[in-house]
């Protein structure tokens, strides 16, 4: 049996990859994907702990996360689409309407 | 019949109703608003006639649970607030009538705000619950903000922001002090209460009183306004539409003085004793400074605004003289300043509607063209100058005598107001109304219309009445004033139960003067 540490290491690697992806990529779609990767890293960690603790709680939370992520993907992609229509770009540098 | 709630919320109900009327019906709004204000005035007259001057207890009380924890809907009036309520209900119809033709833009919204303002002002005067007081105090700013900001002159946004921020700043400090009082009372008694008369029973430690008094005093001093917090006033007055100026000068400024009388003095008597010398100096500076500034203003409205600073200085000085004559004089002078300054602003409004300028140099010789107007203008000037036989004299002489009784030096400095007021007002009158007609535009000025005469006539009648029969009004406040002075000056006698909390020395068992002392006073007055 593979020890839970291995899963956790994978989870961390995925999470860090997500962070790095978020910061070094410039277009919203990739950043969005990076966020999804981070979410899945968290999911992996949840499942790992749930399995080792023998409880279903973590798995339930994962279902929630997946559902929310699906909803988020739908809305997020729609927003990105609208942003593209308005600004003809999905590069984050181009979108700084909130600048004070 | 819940008269007080009726007069407070009738205008508000009207304002709500207005929302559903289509905005094209301009005259409907005017007539309806005027009617509402008149009905309110007539109802408020019953207060005057049914008021029992023999007691200092609040009358026409209404009490209902509201939010809980001591936050109640509790209204009532005594001799101090009665006359100010009447002043308010008297002036609002006049203010509405005066803006009949001047306001052509957004007539609906204008009248909605005026009516909300009336409800707010009346609410402050009738509130006996500190929370309610604060709510009305702040709520009143909103309509005023829009009245100046929408229907005002060129720099209206600057003026209205300054007015609202300044006043609100003071109000917030007061809110903190109210919370402090609230918690102290709870600590001392275990009961939640924000009842003004209940809180007055608290005897706080002098050093605590000092800070709380400063918080209250700042809020009220800004509203009065006392020197050096006066600079919002000329701006607000100059920019406000005529009716706004009238209400601002005649009623809103009185709220500050009323706050001192109703809250600051009876709540913090020790602090008052400590700060009176400083406040008196500020008042005296205000009297002379306001008058000197008025002397050199080039804008008529600004001149009248500075004259308000000077007059309110006298009123506040009389308040701080803390004797019967001074306090009665102060309240009387508040009423009469409301009339005379209100009338002055109405006069300026009449001129402005014709010439669209407020600068003194653009006028000259108007009397010749408008003799009827000239008579009313002169009457307003003379009333403001304090000519005997008119309202101004009674208030002024009582104020000055009260001040004189408290401190002769204050009176000698304060009495300069009667010289300087004559100076700036008559000089202004001379430049605007007398001399040859310098501006050809003036030759086409029509004299007052019937509507405009109707605006001035009630004020003129009341000016004479107040000057010749002041007893009508003075009698109503005798008992309340004596009670107030008892609270401020002779209060050590009744406190019981020393509490071990930090802030409080004790609780008064009975804040009303005992039966013996009351009968004593009646004998004295005979």
């Amino acid at each position: 049996m593979i020890p839970p540490t291995y899963y956790l290491v994978v989870s961390i690697i995925l999470f860090v990859l997500g962070i790095i992806g978020f910061f070094i990529k410039k277009d919203l779609i990739t950043q969005f994907l990076s966020v999804e990767v981070m979410l899945n890293a968290a999911n992996l960690a949840f499942i790992t702990f749930a399995h080792s603790a023998g409880s279903l709680d973590g798995q339930i939370i994962v279902f929630f996360v997946i559902t929310v992520a699906a909803a988020e993907a739908a809305i997020g992609l729609a927003i990105i689409l609208l942003v593209y229509r308005k600004h003809k770009s999905i590069k984050t540098e181009d979108i700084h309407l909130m600048k004070g | 019949m819940p008269i007080l709630s009726l007069i407070t919320f009738l205008p508000l109900a009207g304002a709500l109703l207005f929302i559903f009327i289509p905005k094209e019906q301009k005259n409907l709004f005017r007539i309806f608003a005027l009617l509402l204000a008149l009905i309110t005035f007539i109802i408020s007259l019953t207060l005057f006639f049914q008021f029992d001057p023999g007691t200092a207890d609040p009358q026409f009380e209404e009490r209902a649970e509201w939010i809980g924890y001591g936050i109640q809907y509790h209204v009532g009036i005594d001799g101090i607030s009665l006359l100010l309520v009447l002043l308010t209900t008297f002036l609002f119809p006049i203010a509405i009538l005066s803006s009949w033709n001047y306001i052509q833009d957004k007539v609906k919204e204008y009248h909605i705000f005026i009516l909300i303002l009336q409800a707010g002002v009346l609410g402050v005067f009738v509130s006996l619950n500190m929370f309610l007081f604060y709510v009305f105090w702040e709520a009143m700013l909103i309509p005023m903000y829009f009245l100046i900001g929408i229907w005002g002159g060129k720099r209206r946004i600057y003026a209205t922001m300054k007015f609202v921020l300044f006043t609100m700043f003071g109000g917030l400090l007061m809110l903190v002090a109210i919370f402090f009082l609230y918690s102290s009372y709870y600590q001392a008694t275990g009961i939640y209460s924000l009842d003004i008369f209940e809180l007055q029973k608290l005897i706080l430690k002098p050093e605590i009183q000092m800070w709380l008094f400063l918080a209250f005093a700042l809020a009220f001093a800004i509203k009065v306004p006392m020197f050096p917090f006066h600079t919002w006033l000329p701006d607000a007055h100059v920019q406000a539409p005529t009716a706004g100026s009238v209400i601002l000068a005649a009623v809103l400024l009185k709220l500050g003085a009323y706050g001192f009388l109703r809250l600051a003095l009876p709540l913090f008597p020790d602090a008052v004793a400590r700060f009176v010398p400083i406040l008196a100096v500020l008042c005296i500076i205000g009297i002379i400074y306001g008058a000197l500034m008025a002397l050199i203003q080039k804008d008529v409205k600004s001149l009248v605004a500075y004259s308000s600073v000077s007059h309110m200085g006298l009123i506040m000085l009389a308040v701080f003289s803390l004797n019967v004559e001074g306090l009665q004089g102060a309240i009387y002078q508040m009423l009469s300043h409301g009339l005379s300054t209100g009338a002055l602003f109405l006069c300026v409004g009449v001129l402005y509607e014709r010439a669209h300028t407020r600068l003194i140099k653009d006028y000259g010789g108007v009397s010749k063209q408008m003799p009827v107007f000239s008579a009313f203008f002169l009457l307003a000037v003379l009333s403001s100058v304090g000519l005997p036989g008119l309202n101004g004299f009674v208030g002024e002489v009582l104020c000055l005598f009260g001040i004189f009784k408290a401190n002769a030096v204050w009176a000698i400095l304060g009495i300069t107001t009667i010289i300087l007021a004559a100076g700036y007002l008559l000089w202004m009158f001379q430049r605007v109304m007398q001399g040859p007609i310098t501006n050809d535009k003036i030759r086409s000025f029509p004299d007052l219309s019937l509507r405009e005469i109707m605006v001035f006539v009630p004020i003129a009648i009341l000016m004479f009445w107040m000057g010749i029969f002041p007893g009508t009004f003075l009698r109503k406040m005798d008992t309340s004033i004596n009670h107030l002075i008892d609270q401020v000056k002779n209060r050590e006698t009744y406190f019981s139960q020393a509490s071990d909390t930090h802030n409080i020395l004790g609780i008064r068992t009975d804040s009303r003067p005992s039966q013996e002392s009351k009968t004593q006073k009646e004998e004295d007055s005979r």
Partner: protein, 633 residues
């Protein structure tokens, strides 16, 4: 009837109210009739009340009518109550009598004016206020009348307000008077605070009971006197009266000669017991009076405006009255007030008649030789001039002599000397006016000459009546040399003039004083005769010899300029500086400054808000790491 005495002031009040409300629609004839009738009612009722007072015998103590409680607040208790005692009777008769004649005169004089109703409304209002002033039974109500006459004076001086000078003069009068009023008010406060009442009876009672320490009495007396200085145009507050001549001439006659300006004298006489307590205050009154008498007379010497000469003469005569008060001869002062009312209003009305004849000309240099054209104005004017100059057997002689004699008798020799000096000047400048106006060469403008005419009857009849009184009015107060009890006036006033009489002189010294007075009067007339009829080049030579003196007098010692520079302009300039540099910059600056500071801080902080998602995420990451670190370590 006499119990209704309190109605005296209310006839003119009612008439004034009606005229103000409906005057514009009423016919002129009716307006004049109503106004005169109202004053006539007051006069008639005054006479009736006076007769009943006389009938009530020597010890009669006047009537008091308390109408209602006016201002009652704490210890400030003032009633609206009127009284009618001997002093009031004299004043009421003067005010309503002279007032009535002047009203009649005005109906002719003002006939052409377009604001006819307004004029009579103000005149009636004035009569009401003045009657209120003299009938008030307490100081506060007196102050009401005091301010009321000030208001009417303001309104009537500025009656022709289109003229900037008239509007200016009205305003000046009101403000200068207000300075006096402030002092007066403080005096009232001291009395109220000290004895708890402002009733004259209560004050007198307190004085008699020793309720006033001398220092307090001095303070109060001086403060009240400040009010009198303002109202009666004494040094240093006299500057408004000459300018007040901008008003219509009947106004000058009624307000600025016969009645209002004497209010100060009346007030001091009314408070005589209090003043007698304080020798210091009395001395001040006498000195101010004497200085004013000479000073004002000296300014009258060179004026070319006929009304201004009369105005300075009024100031000077008021100075005499104050001399009388200051030396304790209260009834002599009131006596002079009473005679002065007749001859001075006659002088003004005469001057008005001259103006009327000359289409408004006021300049003495453009008159001359008018006596044949004005057969009624000339003799009446001459009678008044003789009366004011102090020629024996005319009213002014008796009253002025009574004052000077008292001054001498009380050992105030310097004051007496100043009074005599003033008398020479008075006789001189008054006869200068007569000679320049009615005698000598005609120097008329051709246009004025064309319209030259004697005034209508409504104007000349009052002149004749006043001339009659200018002669006979003095015979009620004959000097003591003619017998012990011949001074009916003194005896009549005795119940109200409680103050003890000063020292008496021997008969021979009284005669000496009278002779001295007569001599100086005749001397003054003689010089005027020499200067202006016999050798008209003397004045020119004198002017050439002493140009500085002439200039100084002609420009009224530059007092107006000095006052303007020191008080008026410095106040305005100073206020402007304060407004610009303090109000706008410091106070408002601090306010706007704090608002700006807040704004700047906000702007600084808002630059953190880049609008870039990455920056926010970075901060978020950092925050998360810090939290993580916090929990782990």
């Amino acid at each position: 009837m006499a119990e209704l005495f309190w109605l005296i002031p209310f006839f003119p009040a009612l008439s004034s109210l009606l005229l103000i409300l409906f005057g514009r629609k009423l016919p002129r004839k009716y307006i004049a009739f109503q106004a005169c009738l109202a004053v006539f009612f007051s006069l008639a009722l005054s006479i009736l009340s006076f007769l009943s007072l006389l009938g009530s015998g020597h010890e009669g103590h006047g009537l008091i009518k308390n109408l209602f409680a006016w201002i009652h607040s704490g210890s400030f208790k003032v009633d609206l109550s009127l009284q009618f005692d001997q002093l009031t009777a004299v004043m009421c008769l003067v005010v309503s009598g002279v007032g009535f004649l002047i009203h009649v005169y005005s109906s002719g004089y003002m006939a052409e004016d377009k604001s006819f109703a307004r004029f009579f409304a103000y005149m009636n209002l004035f009569t009401f206020s003045m009657l209120l002033l003299v009938m008030a039974s307490n100081l506060v109500l007196m102050f009401v009348g005091w301010e009321g006459v000030g208001l009417c004076s303001y309104l009537l001086i500025g009656f022709w307000f289109e003229k900037p000078s008239a509007a200016d003069a009205g305003k000046k009068a009101f403000i200068v008077n207000r300075i006096g009023d402030a002092g007066f008010m403080l005096g009232i406060f001291f009395i109220l605070l000290h004895i708890g009442s402002a009733e004259f009876a209560a004050v007198n009672h307190a004085v008699e009971a020793g309720g006033f320490a001398q220092g307090l009495a001095t303070l109060i007396a001086l403060l009240l006197f400040v009010g009198a200085i303002g109202k009666s145009a004494q040094i240093p507050l006299y500057v408004w009266l000459p300018d007040a001549m901008e008003g219509p001439t009947p106004v000058s006659a009624l307000i600025h000669a016969a009645t209002m300006v004497t209010a100060g004298v009346y007030m001091v006489a009314r408070m005589n017991l209090l003043y007698s307590l304080s020798p210091v205050a009395m001395q001040v009154v006498a000195i101010v009076g004497a200085l004013t008498a000479v000073y004002a007379a000296s300014m009258a010497l060179t004026q070319n405006d006929i009304k201004r000469v009369l105005a300075y003469s009024t100031i000077s005569q008021l100075g005499y009255m104050f001399i009388g008060l200051g030396v304790g001869a209260y009834s002599a002062a009131v006596f002079h007030l009473y005679t002065h009312a007749f001859f001075k209003s006659l002088l003004f009305l005469g001057a008005g008649s001259v103006m009327h004849a000359l289409s408004g000309e006021l300049d003495l240099r453009k008159m001359g030789g008018l006596r044949k054209y004005l057969p009624l104005t000339f003799p009446t004017f001459l009678i008044a001039t003789i009366a004011i100059a102090g020629v024996p057997f005319f009213s002014g002689f008796f009253s002025k002599d009574a004052i000077l004699t008292s001054a001498f008798a009380n050992g105030q020799y310097l004051i007496w000397a100043l009074g005599l000096m003033g008398a020479v000047l008075t006789a001189f400048y008054m006869f200068r006016v007569v000679f320049l106006t009615f005698y000598g060469k005609e120097r008329l403008e051709p246009e004025a000459k064309a319209h030259l005419h004697e005034s209508p009857k409504t104007m000349t009849i009052p002149l004749v009546i006043l001339a009659f009184f200018s002669i006979v009015a003095g015979y009620v107060g004959l000097p003591i040399v003619l017998g012990k009890n011949v001074n009916l006036f003194d005896r009549f006033l005795e119940p109200v003039i409680h103050a003890p009489h000063g020292a008496h002189l021997s008969l021979s010294s009284e005669w000496m004083l009278i002779l001295a007075s007569v001599a100086v009067a005749l001397f003054g007339i003689f010089i005027a005769y020499v200067f202006y009829l016999k050798k008209p080049d003397i004045p020119h030579n004198l002017v050439a010899r002493f140009p500085w003196l002439y200039k100084l007098l002609y420009n009224k010692y530059y007092m107006d300029e000095i006052y303007n520079a020191t008080f008026v302009n410095s106040t305005i300039k100073g206020s402007e500086l304060v407004y610009k540099h303090f109000d706008l910059k410091v106070i408002d600056g601090a306010l706007n400054g704090s608002a700006k500071t807040m704004n700047t801080i906000g702007k600084l902080l808002s630059s953190l808000q880049t609008g870039l998602i990455k920056d926010y995420a970075l901060v978020f990451l950092l925050g998360a790491l810090i939290l993580l670190g916090y929990f782990v370590f």
